[in-house]
């Protein structure tokens, strides 16, 4: 049973188109990893699904209901929750108040007690202002806040951003408990190995297009890395065959997130050949 379907999605910011005909689906209880370089459109895709950005074209359905035209607060009530990039807690609220903010009217397993059981470190700091917590604590509050809405679909944007590897390991060890609650997860992660290990399937985005997709266990790692960097040998999407020449997405890189040389999105290239690995 498909929970979330995205079909032929175009989206972007003002003049800049960041997503070109992106399609994906998430089955009940499934975790899909979204892999791609900075500026590939991963965060744009998540924010468009959550409703913070209006899609230019394409369909987004949740349990068969077309939600592409619904406002963001309505989508939250239907069961879409996001852990935004950079956490974006409400800094003047305490940790507990942050978790109590979601007003979706949805019941489910994630009561305050259940969330404190999942994140004991948040329970210990519940009455501290979110703006004064450490990065790891803030990330835990951000995940707890998203789960508190008891979502059908959880969008997780770079949970590991700016955190110590040991802290990130802790979050990924908790992921199975979150998955067991029946939520399906769309996971953005820069670390390819971590992303593949944590997911059932993986998609690779390059310049706003899905260039590779498949079961996480069966994906050829070298081909995935080629797709990630957009190397000339990489197979590319057929989505561009009839479309305009690819436009490099111009999303500004957030501060504190250095782009390693070679990870930069390369400029426009000729129309690539069809890729048999992309589901049509």
């Amino acid at each position: 049973m498909t929970t979330l379907t995205v079909a032929g999605l175009d989206a972007g910011y003002r003049d800049f188109q960041a997503l070109f005909g992106v399609s994906l689906d998430l089955a009940e209880g499934e975790t899909v990893a979204l892999i791609g370089a900075n500026g590939a459109g991963k965060s744009t895709l998540l924010m468009t699904i959550a409703g913070a950005l209006r899609p230019w074209r394409g369909r987004i359905t949740l349990d068969g209901l077309d939600i592409a035209g619904l406002p963001d607060h309505h989508r939250a009530r239907l069961g879409i929750a996001i852990v935004p990039e950079g956490r974006r807690l409400f800094p003047s609220l305490t940790a507990e108040e942050n978790i109590l903010v979601p007003t979706t009217g949805r019941g489910g397993p994630w009561s305050l007690d259940a969330l404190y059981d999942l994140f004991p470190m948040v329970a210990a700091r519940r009455s501290h202002r979110a703006g004064l917590l450490s990065g790891g604590e803030q990330q835990a509050v951000a995940i707890a806040r998203a789960l508190a809405a008891n979502p059908r679909v959880l969008l997780m944007d770079e949970v590991s951003l700016g955190l110590a590897p040991a802290v990130v390991d802790g979050f990924y060890r908790l992921l199975p408990r979150i998955q067991q609650s029946g939520v399906c997860i769309l996971l953005v992660e820069q670390d390819i190995d971590r992303a593949l290990a944590a997911s059932d399937r993986a998609l690779c985005l390059l310049e706003g297009r899905v260039v590779m997709a498949g079961d996480s266990a069966g994906l050829d790692r070298d081909r995935l890395i080629s797709a990630y960097f957009g190397a000339p040998s990489a197979p590319r999407s057929s989505a561009t065959k009839t479309g305009p020449a690819p436009v490099p997405p111009d999303k500004p890189v957030p501060p504190g997130k250095p782009v390693p040389p070679g990870k930069r999105v390369p400029p426009a290239r000729p129309v690539p050949p069809a890729d048999p690995e992309v589901p049509r």
């Binding site: 963001d72 939250a76 929750a81 996001i82 007003t103």
Partner: protein, 296 residues
């Protein structure tokens, strides 16, 4: 003893200023919206009360209580129909829209009620007073200060402890993320503006019992309220109470020496605070920074 009594009267006067200013403070704190029509809306409510008393033959307090839900509704409708749109188009639009609203209200009131000063007959509470040693406790002034304490205390508690308050504070921190948590921002802002306008209407009407009401009174009301907010610190409700009281005490004390200098003295106090502590007495500097950031 005279000085003590003067200070007490100043605190009472300041309570009235604070009750007017609390809505201004709330709207700025939550939405970064400076409502230049705040005083004029309070004056509208005062005229409404006098009209209701004349048309329905009800006493002052009954008309006052009838007016409050109407003031709340007017605030909510203004927010939904006008201020929301203005806020979406940038920081300059709300200033222009509320300034235009202020001019329209003043002229409409002049057309309807003439420019003459009109008394607000409040009956016995206007003249009632208790005496405690050498101190005078005028009934109306005590009522205004008590209402200021109740409104500011109640609002602070509601913001701190209720789900509504949590949503208001979250939205004030980050509107975009608040929406993604399922918060419907437009109705939430409508309740905030409704409360702000109702409090101003209450304060303006009680104040007009002493001073009378005229169409351009709102400008003066706005200036004192604005100064109370800035002296107390932008976005701090208790700071606004303190700011109002400081203005009131300054005015009453100086007026014992020279009445014409009373208003000047409160303006000088305002300027002094701006020089010495521009973020206001209770301001964190954060709200002021956000305000200038929003205007940049």
């Amino acid at each position: 003893m005279t000085w003590l009594n003067d200070t007490l009267q100043g605190i009472f006067v300041g309570g009235g200023y604070a009750l007017t200013a609390v809505g201004l403070s709330l709207m700025f704190g939550v939405m970064r919206l400076v409502n230049l029509a705040h005083g004029d809306l309070a004056v509208c409510a005062t005229y409404l009360v006098t009209s209701m008393m004349a048309a329905l033959g009800v006493p002052f307090l009954a008309a006052l209580l009838l007016m409050l839900p109407l003031a709340f509704a007017a605030g909510a409708v203004l927010q939904l129909a006008l201020f929301d749109r203005a806020l979406r188009t940038g920081p300059l639009a709300p200033l222009l829209v509320t300034f235009g609203l202020s001019i329209m209200i003043q002229n409409l009131l002049q057309q309807t009620y003439s420019a003459n000063v009109r008394g607000v007959p409040a009956g016995s509470i206007d003249v009632s007073a208790a005496h405690l040693g050498g101190l005078v406790l005028p009934g109306l002034s005590v009522l205004k200060l008590a209402l200021a304490l109740v409104v500011i205390g109640g609002l602070s508690a509601a913001l701190r402890f209720t789900g509504w308050g949590r949503r208001v504070r979250a939205t004030s921190d980050d509107v975009a993320i608040a929406r993604l948590q399922g918060i419907r921002v437009r109705p939430l802002f409508a309740t905030v503006t409704g409360i702000a306008i109702a409090a101003a209407a209450l304060a303006g009407t009680l104040g007009a019992v002493t001073t009378g009401v005229y169409p351009t009174l709102g400008t003066l009301t706005l200036i004192f309220a604005f100064e109370a907010v800035v002296i107390g610190g932008l976005g701090s409700l208790w700071g606004t109470l303190l700011g109002g009281i400081l203005i009131g005490v300054t005015q009453v004390l100086v007026s014992q020496v020279s009445v014409p200098y009373a208003t000047l003295a409160s303006q000088l106090l305002f300027l002094l605070v701006l020089v010495v502590r521009p973020e206001g007495l209770f301001g964190t500097g954060e709200a002021a920074g956000q305000a200038t950031g929003a205007e940049a």
